[in-house]
Symmetry: C2
Subunit: 161 residues, 2 copies
């Protein structure tokens, strides 16, 4: 069992032109897909660079969620993502340090090409942070941008600003 992180995650669209102008590196390729999307027993395959994992999660119960994660050979993960998984998606993730915070900027690929999202972890919903110049509209509470919704629909809800 692992307890849910108490950190708050805020999620934003990214201005494409400003992001390109920032000249950040291309980021690490991250692909994931599901063998089970049953919320009571999800099974996810994730491939990131030359590491890969199979992750089993139970339903959220109170503040905890059962989670079991095992490293697996990346070649196995690539084969499962190509032939077996549901809702596979790929993105390039770049880690950017801005002021006191770390941003994960995800440039989506495949059917989600054109979507760029930035996430930051804060210790509370109203913790102040420096806005990077490429930051667009906040979508933290927009269910269309939840990871599960993006994985399921595979289409961009709204082009980034």
């Amino acid at each position: 069992m692992t307890t849910l992180p108490t950190e708050i995650e805020r999620k934003f669209l990214v201005n494409h032109a400003a992001w390109a102008a920032a000249g950040q590196p291309e980021g690490q390729l991250l692909s994931q897909g599901y063998l089970s999307q049953d919320p009571e027993r999800t099974v996810r395959i994730r491939l990131q660079g030359d590491e890969a994992w199979i992750t089993v999660k139970g339903q959220v119960q109170g503040l905890t969620r059962a989670e079991f994660e095992y490293a697996i050979p990346p070649g196995d993960a690539a084969q499962m993502l190509e032939t077996l998984t549901l809702s596979a998606l790929s993105k390039r993730r770049t880690r950017v340090f801005v002021g006191a915070h770390v941003w994960d900027v995800d440039v989506f690929l495949g059917s989600l090409t054109g979507l760029i999202l930035a996430e930051v972890e804060l210790s509370s919903e109203d913790e102040p942070f420096v806005r990077p110049e490429w930051l667009g509209q906040e979508v933290s509470h927009d269910p269309r941008y939840f990871n599960s919704a993006l994985a399921r629909s595979g289409v961009i809800p709204d082009k980034a600003t």
Copy 2:
């Protein structure tokens, strides 16, 4: 990818009284359950003695079926079997040598208590073998005794002879 075994498996009911009289050991506890029963991407948790595995299988295509198996901590498997999996079943498996062949005798537990099945692997459907004294009626081709059917229904189709 692994190729399907070319061996033929024959399955029989077991006569309870004759099995008890044979005085075989109790056998190793084997529990399994599924995180996904989707035939295109099954995910099975199996706990046998102090070893455990998570196994992913794709759909049978021609003579092959994609299969990926990873050893996992037995404590994790026990927890998943108790709280997360579908169609969990437990049995005690005893390996019995009779003539030139090896029999796996499964004494089912839980909701399948009362069912005892014996399986033997042969190199062809008509390979001769010595019938152990406890062997009952053959159910190799009876879909009610397929592993998948037993796992799904969790009830005994017919009491053993």
